[in-house]
Symmetry: D2
Subunit: 409 residues, 4 copies
């Protein structure tokens, strides 16, 4: 039987996707339990370390798998999500960072910023030893461009104070990639700083209790005068409240792989629908005739929505590889980078909406039993709703961003 | 400020709606706790007994409030649902029965079936003393027209055996109104029988553990050779697998009030959206400008969907009162009754879909905090999805029914 | 067979609806021809004069039918639209004015403004003799609140200059009810003035050539120093660019009856779908089995959308009668009037969207033959799209209005 | 400025796309006139012959451009459709045949069917001289699998009798590729036969008068004892009423390029929306502020829908190239071919729906002026609706097909 689902296109991508499928099985086994208890799947992540899966986006020079395709990273994470969406978003937080770092290294090399290049390579080397990194950007009551966690200079370093929320993967992260606000003569700047786990003043709460994605460990992290050396503050930055071509690239490369995660959840849901919609005999169920035609319609609508999501992930992923990851890709200016970012936002919207529809429709196909907590669809229904809240941009803001970019052209 | 929400149109309806609003406040206070623990709000229902709320659809002759409007029953239950959807669907199971019984009494009187009339009046008298009744119709893997719970004649009565599911309100019900299959010379028939709580052979499980509506106590009920006297078997019946004008009337009158329950859930959700969308200052939230226009759009879409649901409940409720409940309403034949039933199904579909949309959109307005379990919207998101599973007809079957009826005209 | 479509609720409404049905037949006969040639159905309107149909909203004291229900006016116009949408929107322009005038008379009486009352009664008397009036409000590149047609005082009267567009019914109108901008010491005001047909300086163009509604005669009307006596300028007015409670009442009462017109178009379309979807034998069509189930689904979706539109027209129409037309209805302040107006806008949006969907779906049911110009659905597809452009508010603006009103509460 | 629209990926594809853009300009100039008069753009097609555009899918060995990518054919036709949808669907009828013939030649060669190969090469040679071919498959009241045009054997050839409809491109076609029903001992078969223009008994009517696509010359063609030699009947065939892997391949390769045509129409519509939505000053239009935010939303939704359509065309086109056109592509069995065909149907559905939405939304952005016949959007609104009627499968049938294929897996 021909397979029309998303396939990786690079060698590293294929290796990654194979491992993803294996870990998906393991993740699926524990998903109900971790969902019920709201616990992080520590053993699964230990196994993903052992298999090399979590080093996928570390270059081979630094001991990793050398996966450098945003698209293929997404394809693999979509497979993992078929097993457990929580695990997939947690893995994305870490793996996306590797891709970003790869690009920063290439950019630094191209612009002869030797020192910058070395500092990022150093981080990749740490990741190559198995360390886990997470992006700690989200805060309550503000957006990514306006971080309120403050970094103030202290002797030989920086002191970090404030609170981050939805800190997915924080339970096992070794390094926290934290966005901060710093005051400069030219006004406030948004910068990024690395905070090693256990730095005094960092407190990882255990307060994640979500509607879904309950195994993602998305606790709050509090920084209270948490001091790190100068070298941990990344060079550069953006005026507070603004985007730069670089901040958009980081957001695009790091967050796009979350999109196929929600496709993966929808694909898992559709399997339940297919199973339920296959013809039953009226001996098994005296009402089997009624609604048969309607089930076929719903299955068709799922097929169409999944085909749409796959196409959107495929094309946007490929374009991101071409424009942002390729060795010969030009550095886009802020205008072009906005257009690429808007395309990412379009893709995110499409997949977020359609994946919710597919899960909802699958419940209609399966019937009332899917409304019981014991049925996996009841978890997928809760998990899939997270898509609209994934950074950057709520659905509300995304339309405004996409429309404004289009009207500037 | 002018109030454009649904208003009762009868005196009893107004009294009922006022009590509903009071009980809604009480229900709201306990909703989070009962949802978390999956427990039935026994104290709330005790208070609803005390206030007379649960006798609303018992005629005043039998000691009740004398509410006889399907529409006004729905209006009040919608208000209760603004406090807690679980409590509202549970109350509907009981209160809908009263309306059905009123009609059966009127029909019996009109056709001079004195004995039948007396037996139903006797049930109403029991309800007038405060007894709780529930409709125990749903079974796994079949539909309402094909019950597999069997009633076999025994000396002086009937023996009931089989399993019912989604038995909302069973925790406190005194009487179970059970659909059964009986064998006759003319083939299998669907009939209804009343089983008093505690009849030997009846076992009420404690296995309800739903995605939402967790406080509704919708356990399974097992009947294992449960014997009731002849008088408890209602006269009449329908060939197994078929509808009759009577079965459609019972289903329409008894189930329609569930429709506004889901409107009530959506109205509760919209209040959260309004609260979140009211202008904030950028001092409170530096990102407040972004998305402002989009929030207004989402609020408008909620308003439109709620206005649509209200209109649909209003018109269908009024038509049901005219055609099914009025003293002078003609007895519709099966063809016309199908058309009325199809209109009910259209209304159910519209409200089920739009109420889900309103809750979903309200979450988008509120943002990520609504995805935390502590936020009421996370419960409404789970509760509102139950609408599509409410009897009769899944969304899949409803389209087939509605279309077929239209094409028969 | 039970009739679940919209029914009039007043005596005058029933008479009006009966005439509407008769004129609808006549209109249907000529619709294709008038659509093809873009000609106004003069003979039809002559007959509607003769039958008294066009005097429906003139009080009986002034020789009319005495219809005073916005809802029932809409119900009848919806029936006329089943024959020809163009004729229905043209008739609405005239008949809506009568309702507005009725209210103005009642208001003036209540506030003891004898002179104002007399001047409006005088207009109603003219309408009672058979005169036709039309509302000439729309202009290019502005909205209703910002008219750019200017009225400047001249000796004993006013001189009107500017251009109106989409002047439906202008071909046969005797009186033009024109919104104008006048300069006052307190800044520009929006006022209304009556211009008799043939007043020197008024030029009625013959330039209407629309995608649909081609028989509505919606030409441009140019005013070039067109002088009318003082008495033709209505007292009162609104600061230019603003709403008042009165301007909102006029817009609501006068424009709401357009909403059911689009329901009527959808109902006409659905009849074609029903006809095409009724089972064919495979002898007639060897492919008849394929898609049968899908057709039933589409028919069901039409039924649901039509039921929704009817409910929305029914409820909003009834509320408008209660709040705006009833003898004892209080005069709403601007805040409450905005809420009522927003409800009208919600209704307009729902019916505009769903009526387009019903026509579109009916084409899918009928198949490729509906894409031929000779098929009535190809006209309905063009006509129904006009709904979104009907005053006041485009779909774009309506959301902003509805959302803002909701957030002010 | 970065260009994120669909780009050709092959050399021939790039040449084809460039010519398409040039011819699109020419087509755009004449589109309004040909739409108004319902005339076929003969001069445009003459120029497309001269430029080599119409030989794009003829292999270079036979004097053509050698375009062999279904995807790139679609990309170019989408560009042509930005100028005139009618011209694009007409060109597709001809150009799709070339791709089909290329595959048939390759298949015949692979299976050593020398004679078959030669006969198809002979047709390609005719096309290489500039001849125009069209697929004459559609008939009233049946579907593609059940042709009722009959071919009966006569001395040395076949006699063709029956009526084809929607015969796009027939005005200038030199060869008609006609599906017929023939009786055999094994029951009725569906076969294909080539009929040269002007064969006695063939009558090309001038009866095309569509809602849209008015310049496509989609007349009826009547065959009345039209005799062609044996050699013009293609070998093979399918039992009447069935699909074969071959018939599905032909339908997929030949019809898929119609999908991007409707994307092209939507892209043309969006340009009008962008133009209208760019900020105006309130000096130009006093109502310019109202609705500004809503316009940005609508533009964003257009952007998202267009991005979705592009992704769907891109991915499905690429998969069709891989599975159906590549030199090394395996011959899919009927099961796999059905899956590929179902994916094509999904893509068709998505683009048909979203392109209608984009045009509709663009009209809302532009406002009432787009409802005038003189505005290009009023033509696009009529043209784009044709998508759902394009072969094979109506929207009604497509869902049934897609769902059934999915449930067979």
């Amino acid at each position: 039987v021909i397979d029309l689902s998303l396939q990786p296109t690079t060698g590293a991508g294929r290796r990654f996707a194979e491992l993803a499928a294996e870990h998906a099985s393991e993740a699926a086994n524990g998903a109900a339990e971790h969902d019920a208890t709201g616990t992080f799947p520590v053993a699964l992540f230990e196994n993903m370390k052992q298999s090399g899966f979590l080093k996928a986006t570390v270059p081979s020079e630094q001991g990793g798998m050398g996966l450098s395709s945003v698209r293929d990273l997404g394809v693999g994470l979509g497979r993992l999500a078929q097993g457990d969406g929580s695990a997939a978003i947690a893995a994305t937080m870490h793996l996306g960072f590797g891709l970003i770092a790869q690009r920063l290294v290439a950019d630094a090399a191209r612009s002869n910023r030797i020192e910058l290049r070395q500092s990022i390579v150093a981080v990749l080397e740490v990741l190559g030893t198995g360390a886990i990194v997470m992006a700690n950007f989200t805060e309550p009551k503000t957006d990514l461009r306006h971080p309120n966690v403050v970094a103030t200079p202290v002797d030989g370093g920086w002191s970090i104070t404030g609170r981050k929320t939805f800190s997915t993967l924080c339970e096992i992260a070794d390094l926290f990639f934290v966005s901060v606000r710093t005051e400069t003569d030219g006004g406030p700047m948004t910068k990024s700083v690395l905070v090693p786990r256990g730095t005094p003043g960092q407190q990882i709460l255990s307060n994640w209790d979500g509607l879904g994605m309950r195994a993602s460990g998305s606790h709050d992290v509090v920084y209270d005068g948490c001091v790190v050396p100068d070298a941990y503050m990344l060079p550069g930055g953006v005026p507070w409240g603004q985007d730069s071509d670089l901040s958009l690239r980081i957001a695009t490369v790091g967050q796009f792989p979350l999109v196929p995660v929600f496709l993966g959840i929808a694909e898992a849901a559709h399997l339940h629908a297919l199973d339920a919609a296959r013809p039953r005999t009226t001996a098994d169920d005296p009402s089997a005739d009624m609604g048969r035609a309607g089930l076929t319609q719903l299955v068709a609508e799922n097929e169409r929505d999944l085909a749409t999501c796959r196409a959107v992930v495929d094309r946007t992923g490929s374009l991101l590889d071409t424009f942002l990851m390729a060795d010969d890709s030009p550095r886009l200016d802020i205008g072009d980078m906005s257009r690429v970012h808007a395309l990412f936002q379009c893709s995110k919207q499409v997949v977020n909406r359609l994946s919710v529809s597919v899960v909802d429709r699958s419940m209609s196909v399966v019937g009332g039993s899917s409304y019981r907590r014991e049925h996996p669809l009841s978890r997928l229904y809760r998990d899939v709703r997270a898509g609209g809240f994934m950074q950057p941009y709520s659905p509300v803001e995304a339309n405004e961003y996409i429309g404004s970019v289009a009207l500037q052209q």
